[in-house]
Structure formats: C-alpha cells, structure tokens
C-alpha cells in the first residue's frame, strides 16, 4: 500500500521542529510500523537526507523504548501493543499518518521522535526499590507466603514497561499511572510494607518536581497503556499517600 507520512522533524533539543510530509510506497501489511520507518530511513539515507530518529530496541513490546504518537494516539490505533508490535495491516492504502513524539515538558525532545524520559528514572531513584542488600543469606523465598491474588495483582502492576504512553496520552501529561503502578507493586507485597510511607511520599514529591501535570481521572492512560495497567493503581497510590500523610 501507499501512504503519506506527516512526521515531526526536529534537529536537536534546542531547534524548532515542524511536521514534514513524506510519501512512501509499496508497504506490506505484514510489516511492523517500525519496519515501515526503516524503509523510509533507507530511502532517506540513499537520497542523501537525514534519517528520522526514533527510539526502539527489543521490537517485541517489552523494553519500552519505542514511543511515537501515531494519528493522535500513543503507540497508534491498536490496543495493548507498543509501536513495534503495531502492524501496517491496521492502516489502509492511501492513509495519511501523523507521527509525533510523546509530548510533555517533562519529556523534552532530543531529536525528531526521540524524547528524554529520564524523569521516570529519577522518580524511581527516589523510592522505587526495597532496601535490601545482596548477601546470600536473605530469608528463604517461601518464608512469607503471599496470597496468589496479591501476588498476581502485584505482577499486573509490575508489568509496566515505562514507555511513557500514559504521560503522552494524558491531557495533563500526568505520570500517575506509571508512579501508581510502581507504588502498587510494592504496596501489595509484604516486603514493601516497611518503607511504604517514605516510598510513596518521596516518589510523589519527585514526580511533582519533574513537572508532570496532575491527574484528572480521564482514564486515557489506562486505555492507551500497552500493558493494560489499571487505574486502580492510581487509586491505590492515592490511598497510600493518604495513609502516609496520616502516619507522618
């Protein structure tokens, strides 16, 4: 199929960007979206142009590197997939496709479609861990039974890949689904209880410092999340913060 791409081009963090149009031909419906961009880049390089920069790595939907706001949605129109798993069969011959970076002031553009998501890392530095040293004589893994339900729910929260689709699709650029998922994972496990108070307060404080907006519960993040992280995690984080505020 033949398509018209409208791609955000921006030379570097300081430059002003703009949307540039690229026609592209003979795209197979079996290609992934990124393979389609590979073909575009091959053409650009052969013609002496600069290829479009975009983040990608594992190309199987787990590393969270790929981003892209495709036709007005994070990771494109398909549900429960990252951009690298999005296939061209979701588009029709003759379609115009807008491709933009994930936008938020907390995610500054590095180049073209590549953004800096290190704000997520810094939130985790503030408390996204359990303080346990590696010693080789930690207690046995089975010494504290954890109900299957809690373990499964913790796992559901922990499947977050940190791609930032939640921030990108939120009208407020809020990071609460991301932070809520991490807070929830630990809040649901007995190992996470000891530091629960400090963890939620520190992570939320860092989140606020990074310049993300506030959550207004539109639920866009939950719909666009490639891993289906539930809004319940934000509610749980809110409860955790209330608990922590009361305690301290």
């Amino acid at each position: 199929m033949n398509l018209t791409l409208q791609i955000w081009r921006q030379e570097n963090a300081k430059a002003k960007g703009k949307i540039v149009e690229y026609p592209i031909k003979d795209i197979s419906p079996d290609m992934s979206f990124l393979e389609m961009l590979d073909i575009l880049n091959r053409q650009l390089i052969t013609n002496g142009d600069t290829p479009v920069a975009f983040d990608h790595d594992c190309r199987e939907g787990i590393c969270g590197s790929c981003s892209l706001y495709i036709n007005g949605e994070a990771h494109g129109p398909d549900r429960r997939v990252t951009t690298c798993q999005l296939h061209m069969r979701k588009f029709k011959d003759g379609d115009t496709i807008f491709i933009e970076p994930f936008r938020a002031d907390a995610f500054p553009v590095i180049k073209d479609l590549v953004v800096d998501r290190s704000a997520f890392d810094r939130i985790q530095h503030a408390g996204g861990f359990i303080s346990v040293n590696t010693s080789g004589n930690t207690q046995d893994g089975n010494s504290i039974p954890i109900s299957k339900h809690d373990a499964d729910e913790a796992m559901d929260a922990a499947t977050c890949i940190g791609c930032g689709a939640c921030v990108a699709s939120c009208k407020n650029s809020s990071a609460m689904l991301f932070v809520g998922a991490k807070v929830s994972q630990y809040a649901l496990l007995p190992q996470g209880q000891i530091e629960a108070t400090d963890r939620v307060q520190n992570m939320v404080a860092q989140m606020d410092l990074e310049g993300f907006g506030n959550c207004t519960n539109t639920g866009a993040c939950e719909v666009e999340c490639p891993k289906g992280i539930s809004l319940e995690n934000i509610a749980r984080m809110n409860r955790e913060l209330i608990k922590a505020s009361v305690k301290s």
């Binding site: 960007g17 933009e100 002031d105 939320v204 959550c215 539109t218």
Partner: protein, 227 residues
C-alpha cells in the same frame, strides 16, 4: 495542611473532598426544591427554617461558600498548571479514542456552572440577603402577611422563559460535570477496587437524575403558572 496541598495528589484529594461536600449540598438543595412540586406548604416551612436557622446561616452557609470558592479556585489553578505541562501540543490528537468529552472538559462544564451560579446568586441569593439582613425582615412572610413568601417567589421566578432556559442549561452542564466528576472524586480518594464496581452505576444515575430533577422542577413551575 499546606504541605499536603502542595503535592499533586493532596490537591486532587482536596478537589474530591470539596466535590463530595458540594454533591451532598446539591442533593440537599434538590430535596428541598422538589417539595415545591410535591407540597408547597412543607416547602415553605423548610425554606423558612433554612433561611433563619442560625446554624445554617452562620456556620453551614459560610462553609458552603468556602467550599464553592475552593472548588472553583483549585479547579482553575490545576487546569492552568496541567495545561502548562505540555507547551507544544500535538498536531493530531485523537482524544476521543481514549477518554470522554466530559472528562476532558471539566473546566468548561465547571466554567458554565460558575456562570450559572453567579446569575443564581444575583437572582435568588442577593435579594434574600437584602430582605433578611439589609431590610431586616426575617419573618419570611408575604407583604400582606397571608403566609410564607418562599413558594410564591419561586413560582414568580419561573415565569420568564429566559430564566427557565438558563436554569435548564445550567443543569445540563451540571450533569455533564457530574458524569465524570462523581466517579472521579471517588477515584481521587482511592476508592477504586473490586468492591466499588457498583459505585460507578450509582454515580451515573446520580449525575443524570439530580440535574434532571432540577430541570423538571423548573419546567413544572413554568408550565403550571404562566400558561
């Protein structure tokens, strides 16, 4: 308190708490207003009680005013801050694919409600204050003393069509606001888990039925009196 209000989640919770208060107030307001349709005498009695009881007038009324102002002020502050967290907007944004119009436009539905409230204050509340505290007549009686004035005043208000339309419009926006706001408030205070599924349905019902009730009251009086 100020520390908690500095954090994003603290503000969210404060928004939700003021919303709970306002939602309760609306329910109470509705309960009294519907009496004007069911039983004008009781309506008069209750209105007089509310208008003259010192607890209501000097404690609850200021709290209500604070609640309203807080909810609006915080709403505007958050909206401004949220808007400024994305300085370059998308060339193409298909927000309808992942969220409702209501949830994204609380500032507009809220803004219209504010506009309505201002009119409502000028229309109902300031004359009330004028009678009670400037003129100093707390009797609640009609000028000829034949009974309470409240029901008659209410009927009188719903004669002009413009006011009925504005009133109905205000409640349509309230419904839109509540359709997102009710459940949003519960989500904000952390009530979203497997036990709260039925709450969602209740929230929808509340958001539609209460404003609809207000509209019915307005239409009832409009059609009963002027024609």
């Amino acid at each position: 308190m100020s520390e908690v209000l500095k954090s994003s989640i603290g503000r969210k919770i404060a928004m939700a708490l003021s919303a709970f208060f306002l939602m309760f107030f609306i329910l109470q307001h509705f309960a009294i207003n519907i009496l004007s349709v069911l039983d004008p005498d009781t309506f008069n009695e209750v209105s007089h009680f509310m208008g003259t009881n010192p607890l209501v007038q000097y404690v609850l009324q200021p709290v209500l005013i604070f609640g309203v102002i807080f909810h609006f002020a915080m709403g505007f502050v958050l909206e401004f801050k949220n808007k400024s967290s994305r300085s370059v907007s998308y060339a193409k944004n298909n927000a309808n694919a992942n969220s409702t119009w209501m949830s994204r436009n609380m500032i507009y539905s809220g803004g219209f409600i504010l506009f309505f409230l201002v009119i409502h204050f000028i229309d109902f509340w300031i004359p009330e204050l004028n009678i009670k505290y400037v003129i100093g007549d707390s009797s609640g009686l009609l000028e000829d003393g034949s009974g309470y004035r409240y029901f008659e005043e209410l009927q009188h208000k719903f004669v002009p069509l413009w006011r009925v339309v504005l009133y109905c419009g205000g409640f349509v926006f309230l419904a839109l606001h509540l359709l997102h706001g009710f459940n949003s408030a519960f989500q904000s205070v952390g009530a979203n888990n497997k036990y709260t599924k039925s709450l969602k349905g209740f929230g929808k019902a509340y958001a539609i039925l209460i404003p609809l009730g207000f509209i019915i009251i307005a239409l009832f009086h409009y059609f009963n009196n002027s024609h």
